[in-house]
Symmetry: C2
Subunit: 302 residues, 2 copies
């Protein structure tokens, strides 16, 4: 069974199609790499690419893509709503199949070292790859953004892990390993945003709720519904069903129910199978052996 890693690099370009296509082209050029998806957001002026392959294939593809970004994106001219510090802004490596988190951490270090050496961008290792607790969180690493990064890097505690000075036009990049992230939104049958905010506060880790859960209350203006918008950073430790059931329980306090939910973008099948196992009350179910597709994936990958 082949080792498979997913990589979801974010680039600070969401408007110029030629740049976005040049980045996509650099990824597609590497044999064996699958570019699952890419999308650009003009108001964020940012694009997100999702690729899968063996560790070596993915490393090569992301380095080539970063090279394009360094050549084509000038951060001194970049404006957009999303916080950012580099032309290639963040590069997470995610274990998918037959790969441990430790292997992804090593891969992120190799990729980070190569980016600093070959492209001249300083690299901060973040999430599972972080070399200090204060560097785990991407928002902390990126605070100050491109414009404040040269000064921030002067401080001993924010010296980059690789490289030493800010790239004048491409800035700096965060590289790391993490679990697959699932974006899961829960819509409430209320237009009271405060209820969604109160529930978000109860369920998220940062205010004492469930580990591996980030949550915000937001308003879906077009449907006049309040939504608990959730990022799940480890669906194996904190599964989807547990988050949904906790939201339902807390919503009851307000006489509010759940009208529907949505998963944004990709999810590993296992995240859904785990929830099916819970609700179907399955005993002794072994997905590796009993889910037909898992046999096909193993056979196809040799």
């Amino acid at each position: 069974m082949a080792k498979l890693v997913e990589c979801i690099p974010n680039f600070s370009e969401g408007r110029r199609t030629t740049v976005i296509e040049a980045i996509a082209g650099a990824i597609k050029e590497v044999p064996g790499v699958i570019l699952l998806d890419y999308s650009a957001d003009a108001s964020h002026n940012r694009s997100v690419f999702t690729l899968v392959g063996t560790p070596e294939q993915v490393k090569k593809a992301v380095l080539q893509a970063a090279q394009q970004a360094v050549n084509l994106i000038d951060m001194t001219q970049h404006r957009g709503e999303h916080p950012r510090m580099g032309a290639v802004d963040v590069i997470p490596f995610v274990p998918i199949q037959n790969v441990t988190m430790d292997e992804c951490v090593i891969l992120s270090r190799e990729a980070g070292a190569a980016i600093a050496r070959e492209l001249g961008m300083p690299v901060f290792l973040y999430e599972e790859s972080a070399t200090a607790a204060s560097r785990k969180n991407l928002a902390e690493v990126r605070r100050g953004e491109f414009e404040g990064m040269a000064e921030k890097m002067q401080k001993t505690e924010w010296r980059p892990d690789f490289g030493d000075k800010l790239h004048p036009t491409a800035g700096a990049v965060a590289v790391g390993a993490r679990m697959p992230l699932i974006a899961y939104n829960i819509n409430l049958n209320t237009s009271d945003l405060n209820i969604a905010k109160a529930i978000a506060k109860i369920i998220r880790e940062s205010s004492g709720g469930l580990k591996f859960v980030k949550a915000l209350g937001v308003m879906l203006e077009d449907r006049n519904l309040a939504q608990v918008s959730i990022n799940m950073t480890n669906y194996e430790q904190t599964p989807l069903y547990r988050v949904l059931e906790l939201v339902k329980a807390e919503a009851k306090r307000y006489g509010v129910g759940v009208v529907g939910t949505e998963i944004i973008g990709l999810t590993p099948a296992k995240a859904l199978v785990d929830s099916a196992k819970y609700y179907l009350q399955l005993e002794g179910f072994d997905g590796d052996k009993q889910v037909l597709e898992n046999h096909l994936l193993r056979s196809n990958n040799g």
Copy 2:
């Protein structure tokens, strides 16, 4: 994306390892075919093989396996608890990926014609491939078993679809196309078998319940629990969650609950994903696009 078909041939040998291994060997010999699983039951004196491949690969493998069965199994000497009529007893073809049910019906006809022509066994087409409503149900086709089949085949309505007289030692075989079958058992927190029987009667199609559901009440002696034992013949039309929820609703009448459930053997991931979608209340979820593994399967199969 390659066309993929599953085939689950049953053979009337569950005791002699050499025969079972000869059948397995004939399947494994065909390049590209994946033998997912095989198991033998001594008291049934029967073995079940599960293979996957392209339609042509699977047809070739099952013909070679049937040849071994004709050579090595003598039905005049066969004793076992399970009803049977042939050395290779039943051959279902199941659409898995990029294949329609109609294509599987055609495949079953081609395989059936080849078995009659090359191996001299008469063939009854059953399930989706049946040429008469009375032949859809395997139990009806097999009634009379090996010992009664020569006489049964004299009747106009039981003339075989291919071949004309019973093979003296190998008997007859049923060949057809069907949806994946899921064996789903629901354990009740009662030792009263009558409750499981009453619920089984309510949910099964044959007594007016849910379409595509077969169900029996049985006793799990070792756990002292009554079980509703279910075969689901079309999980897309009648999904797992609907069966479970109906069983729960009917069990309430007796103050009985569900302690757990089990899936026996293989299931397509979609059967579980469909139930996850229901319970997680997912809106607008597209498994083809949003389940990561589906992209990998498509890419791997070229």
